[in-house]
């Protein structure tokens, strides 16, 4: 299947930006979802976002 490319510049800036790794991974998850659904005007994002928020907020708790 096609590699869903996020512009490398965005990726590089995300890697450079000062933040904890949990937050970085969370944002990567969001970006990959949005890239996959870029052609949809109103993608059904809610479930995927809920899943990511649930997972990464738990990681915040353990920090």
């Amino acid at each position: 299947m096609v590699k869903k490319e996020v512009n490398p510049l965005i990726w590089e800036e995300l890697e450079r930006y000062t933040m904890d790794e949990n937050l970085r991974e969370f944002i990567k998850g969001l970006l990959l979802f949005e890239r996959k659904h870029i052609s949809e005007e109103r993608p059904r994002y809610s479930d995927e976002y809920d899943k990511l928020i649930e997972k990464h907020s738990k990681n915040m708790d353990s920090e």
Partner: protein
């Protein structure tokens, strides 16, 4: 990503079955498809759009009246029933994706709604060594097909990869910065960051709303945040609509200017030329006025303390001055007095040269003075010290006033200059309205109404932008209040962590967006400049290309003057081609580029230069040019030959209503 093959069946003038196999060789990735007007160049572009996206964006703007039916008209009239099919094979180093769209059109149902025709779709992709295929008959339900297309080249940005070269110059007409911004944001994927921010904001609101058993304070704050967020969204939408209106009105105004320039009667072209010049000058004056306003503001902020405290400081100065006049003996400033006297005693000599030997009356007199100095009250010292400081400040006050007068004068001069130019514009407009030609009169009146609309929209947009800032401030305050209240409630820890995650992410995404947007804008600017200055034939005329923070593009000539508004249609096309090539190189998409009529508005020598350079700028993309024989001169061909992989010719048979695709060349 390259197009390996396009197969057409009864699609418009392509009667029967036609296959075009493009060159996919990395070093010879330029394909030439040569054909006269009407042979089917634009329809080849339409066929690609139709197969991949289900529409034909280049159609309505070309010849809508001639292109009602997608099926080949002769085939349809002879057979009464036609299958129209377009298949595209794409891939990187080998064919990896196959897309196909089919529709059956019968004579009896030709006027029926597209939904009523028999349709199908097919998509296949290579997984390992095996092809996986899917198909269906409902074009409204082909998610997999659409997702794969979207991964290669999303619908929203295809117009930056498949485009008509002749329409490109619209991009850089006055007031089109909105389009430039949209292009950079979409093609460079800044949109992804925007979407994350938007969806996270919605999620935060949802989380807040879903809170159970919270205090009434928390609920009230949450409601307030929702209302404010909604009002911010409405404002953003209004601003976008106003920007669109401005762009549209600017474009209409520019079209009228083009028409007026073409009048040879009376002095219309001269007046239009003068107006073009005045408008460029006014824009510069407006920038200067804005700078001057900022300078005045900064100057005022730095001097406000002097203005507010002037009378108090002046009274204090006079009071201390009177006191000082009451003291007969001159005094040394307080902060240096004690040290100074001690130094004299240590050196055993006064500054007048008198010896200050131990026990001498002169030394005793200094020692007495030193003792009295030690007893001087702190208040007195402060007053003495303040006296000099106040004197200094009062001096600055005087300077501040004169500087302010000077700045105000400069500002007023700029305003007067603008007023004069405005007046001259009005006179030009009145003269044009008074011309004894109906068409000129009505064009000018229409132009007036567009100008009026632009003015009103700009003012309204500025007002809405201010409102957004206020709303954002309020949201920030309310969010802080909400967080504080939530921290008090231990039961809400889980929710607090989720909201914190959203907040931190939104903040980080905004920061990343700001940096990426700046970086991408600068890269597009730098590449556009490099390509434009290199492609342009008047090397000595242009010096720089700039895209500012508002995405406004400007071309600077060698005199340092902005001259975008005075570019010819051909020059604008070169600028647009440079911009598109720059966008493609920083986009993050490796899609093929197809340009219809790439050199249509460009004459002689420049055409040859572009032919040499454009394929080089797009060397990492498969480039296909749909070109007429007027564009494809022997020199143009010669200049491109190193990059040409394949050449095709479209041969249209009017009687048969059929275009044959013939591979030519061979000696390239």
């Amino acid at each position: 990503m390259k197009i390996y093959e396009i197969e057409l069946e009864n699609y418009r003038q392509y009667r029967g079955n036609h296959i075009i196999r493009l060159s996919t060789d990395n070093t010879h990735n330029l394909n030439i498809i040569l054909g006269p007007n009407g042979a089917g160049k634009t329809n080849l572009l339409n066929a690609i759009d139709w197969c991949l996206y289900g529409d034909e964006p280049s159609l309505e703007k070309t010849r809508p009246e001639l292109q009602q039916c997608i099926a080949n008209e002769k085939e349809l009239s002879e057979k009464g029933n036609v299958i129209v099919r377009v298949k595209i094979l794409m891939g990187n180093e080998q064919p990896e994706y196959s897309f196909e769209r089919t529709i059956r059109i019968s004579k009896s149902s030709i006027d029926a709604h597209p939904e009523e025709h028999e349709k199908s779709w097919y998509v296949a992709y290579l997984e390992g060594n095996n092809w996986k295929s899917y198909n269906g008959s409902d074009w409204n339900n082909m998610t997999l097909f659409n997702n794969i297309v979207s991964d290669i080249l999303p619908r929203g940005i295809r117009s930056f990869f498949f485009f008509d070269g002749e329409r490109l110059d619209d991009f850089f007409r006055r007031g089109m910065e909105h389009e430039v911004k949209k292009a950079i944001i979409k093609v460079c994927q800044i949109e992804l960051l925007d979407r994350c921010i938007h969806h996270l904001t919605d999620k935060s609101a949802e989380l807040r709303k879903g809170i159970r058993g919270a205090s009434s304070e928390i609920e009230d704050i949450s409601k307030a945040i929702d209302l404010l967020t909604q009002s911010k969204r409405e404002l953003v939408e209004k601003i976008e609509n106003l920007s669109k209106k401005i762009t549209e009105a600017e474009k209409n105004k520019e079209d009228i200017d083009d028409k007026l320039r073409k009048f040879t009667k009376f002095d219309v072209p001269e007046l239009q030329k003068e107006r073009d010049r005045l408008e460029i000058e006014i824009k510069k004056i407006d920038d200067k006025i804005k700078d001057k306003e900022n300078e005045i503001r900064r100057h005022f902020a730095s001097g406000i303390i002097f203005i507010l405290g002037f009378s108090a400081l002046k009274s204090a100065y006079e009071m201390i001055d009177q006191r000082k006049k009451g003291i007969k003996q001159p005094r040394i400033p307080p902060d240096i007095r004690e040290k100074f006297l001690k130094d004299l005693l240590t050196c055993h000599q006064c500054i007048c040269g008198t010896e200050l030997s131990e026990g001498s009356p002169q030394r005793e007199s200094i020692e007495k003075l030193l003792n009295s100095v030690k007893f001087t009250s702190k208040i007195s010292d402060s007053a003495d010290e303040g006296y000099y400081k106040i004197a200094n400040i009062l001096e600055k006050c005087k300077k501040f006033k004169s500087e302010r007068v000077e700045l105000e004068k400069e500002y007023q001069d700029l305003c007067d200059d603008r007023k004069k130019k405005d007046q001259r514009l009005k006179e030009i407009s009145e003269r044009l309205k008074g011309m004894p030609v109906d068409e000129i009169q009505s064009l000018e009146s229409l132009r007036d109404s567009f100008e009026d609309e632009i003015r009103k929209c700009i003012a309204e947009r500025a007002q809405k932008e201010l409102q957004i800032k206020t709303v954002e401030e309020k949201i920030k305050m309310k969010n802080a209040e909400f967080k504080k209240e939530l921290e008090k409630d231990k039961k809400q820890k889980k929710l607090r962590l989720k909201l914190e995650l959203c907040d931190k992410s939104i903040k980080a995404l905004n920061g990343i967006k700001e940096k990426v947007a700046k970086e991408l804008r600068e890269r597009v600017e730098q590449k556009t400049k490099e390509y434009f200055l290199n492609l342009h034939w008047k090397k000595e005329v242009f010096k720089d290309v700039k895209i500012d923070e508002n995405y406004e593009i400007s071309i600077i000539n060698n005199l340092g003057t902005e001259c975008l508004g005075t570019l010819s249609a051909g020059e604008r096309q070169i600028l647009a081609l440079s911009f598109m090539a720059a966008l493609s190189s920083v986009s993050g998409f490796e899609a093929p580029v197809i340009i219809d009529t790439p050199l249509g508005r460009i004459s002689g020598k420049p055409k040859e230069k572009i032919a040499r350079s454009l394929p080089k700028y797009l060397e990492n993309s498969q480039l296909t040019l749909l070109i007429t024989d007027q564009e494809y001169t022997p020199t143009v061909r010669n200049n491109m030959k190193e990059r040409i992989g394949k050449e095709f010719e479209l041969r249209y048979d009017e009687e048969e209503v059929n275009t044959e695709i013939v591979e030519i060349g061979g000696d390239v």
